[in-house]
Symmetry: C2
Subunit: 335 residues, 2 copies
């Protein structure tokens, strides 16, 4: 009995294409406070997402069980969706070993073999990297850095994180820990970082916490009038400093000018290292807009050698903040 081969072959080809297009990945962004997760398709669309409190689970096994209870029913429920793996971003997450190593702002101490633990629970391959690296991968695949081979992503939030692409590849370093630009020293002998003990690191100045401390230092060190003096120091935050600056408060404006000077100098140094096409900025502090970005840009250009001046784009992330890291983490599964 004769059977027609070509239509079947095409059918299988088509089926394979549909299968691939239905491949989905779980993306998980682990932060000190919250962990956000999503199920993501090849086009970077998040078909399901949610979050749990990271700090509610001091024991790693409980954290993984909580993620499993949230994710597994969706993985099973979503028809026509084939989840092929899990990608994760976490502070001090190591791509090579799949472990979180001594993360200062997580409850889990020592070395946590997170990728192996997740694979054991979900029966799916799992990959892990640094949270800022995951966000950089997200920007490169779905955001402002699409098509760029050389760029640096800087997250300006409670802390300062970074992910670096050069020659079209994520820079991981020999041990997987490259790209800790928030901990580079920008003011020798400067402000002590409460978690690391470093003196004068970028994160001590160009983070939300840094802006608040700078405001307090300006108030303590000068007699200049400011609306911020009416706020108890323990309640002061970077949003209040920003609002004051926007309303014309001169002291608050000086805080952003000083922060921008330091951040811009640091960015100039990063540019003279890897000569990126763009620096993508991301995170809460970027909401300050021009009040921060004008001094950043001025300081960066001023500190650059002429051959680098007026070449580097300084741009904001195009992705929703919560999405970039989920998308980037999920993209580890395809890479």
């Amino acid at each position: 009995m004769k059977q027609l081969q070509p239509p079947l072959t095409n059918y299988y080809k088509l089926k394979k294409m549909i299968d691939i297009s239905n491949d989905h990945a779980v993306g998980i962004d682990i932060g000190g406070t919250n962990t956000k997760y999503g199920i993501v398709n090849h086009r970077g669309q998040i078909v399901f997402e949610g979050s749990i409190r990271t700090d509610a689970y001091p024991i790693i096994g409980d954290f993984i069980n909580a993620l499993y209870e949230k994710l597994q029913p969706e993985i099973e429920r979503l028809k026509d969706v084939h989840v092929v793996g899990i990608g994760m971003g976490a502070p001090n997450g190591n791509f090579y070993t799949g472990t979180i190593d001594y993360a200062p702002n997580l409850h889990w101490k020592g070395i946590i073999p997170l990728a192996d633990l997740m694979t054991a629970k979900f029966k799916l391959p799992a990959k892990l990297t640094n949270d800022a690296n995951a966000a950089a991968v997200g920007e490169m695949m779905y955001g402002a850095a699409r098509g760029m081979k050389d760029f640096i992503m800087i997250t300006l939030g409670t802390g300062v994180g970074s992910g670096i692409f050069a020659n079209g590849e994520l820079i991981l370093g020999h041990d997987g820990f490259a790209g800790e630009l928030g901990h580079t020293i920008v003011v020798p002998g400067g402000r002590v970082h409460p978690n690391t003990g470093s003196m004068g690191s970028l994160e001590s100045y160009a983070s939300a916490t840094g802006v608040t401390i700078t405001a307090i230092e300006y108030m303590t060190g000068t007699d200049e009038a400011s609306v911020l003096r009416g706020i108890p120091q323990a309640e002061l935050n970077s949003k209040m400093v920003f609002d004051a600056a926007l309303a014309g408060d001169s002291l608050a404006q000086k805080v952003f000018k000083s922060t921008g000077d330091i951040l811009g100098m640091a960015l100039a140094n990063f540019v003279m290292f890897s000569s990126p096409q763009a620096i993508i900025l991301f995170g809460g502090l970027t909401k300050a807009g021009d009040i921060l970005m004008k001094p950043v840009k001025d300081s960066m250009e001023r500190n650059l050698l002429p051959i680098f001046q007026n070449k580097v784009q300084l741009i904001f992330s195009e992705l929703k903040e919560s999405d970039a890291a989920i998308l980037g983490a999920s993209a580890l599964v395809w890479g």
Copy 2:
């Protein structure tokens, strides 16, 4: 008439192997004062070398003619040697464009299309990169960085140059100018660089010139006794400061301690960028040995996050200083 084919085939195979093994490359290292050149084989052996004064040729065409007069007779004279191309390292040399762009310490101003000019003269393909990048390629192929995928090469001479490998590749940046670590700012608002106008760049402190200036500053700013006070300032150089430090002069020792503190902090910042397996140091200032290297190492470790500490090898180049750049430049031809 019957002819035996296999021996002939083998003959041609063998001939091809001999041809490849006889392929040689010209390597040229262009510095502000001297230009060194060599003819190099695949194993990194220099079969012929020489040098001309760079600064004797203010017109680029004259410089190329002078190189041609030195090299061409050797290229023709060396039997069994097949020169297949020219590789060059020069300050502000750009790999992508083959041009030297606005090099502050060369006579030739503006943009010099050196690779094209060399090809037109020698009728050989020519490649160009930054002089420190060429030295890094030399270290990776023939020196202390053999087999390393992630390392940073720092040249500590009259100036401070650098070449960076990450993921097994030279980091060139989007425009070919990556790796200008000597111009990163390490002392905000610090010493003005006479050529660039930058304030507080690494090169202003951790170069031979920087050491001399630091010694003068220490003598001007303190009353401390020192054998260096017997030397007219215009005659003072880093070798004299080193000799004084070695002989126990306390002021001279403080100069090296201060230089090491600054350089070590800068190296810590570089490590937190690309997490290299090793930093290879190279150039005149490394002759100071432990007097410089102990404070460098102490300061680097002190400024590193714990996850980076006691992991990075700090080693001296294994290549003769003049050879590294020639070898690296010649290796561009094979790459």
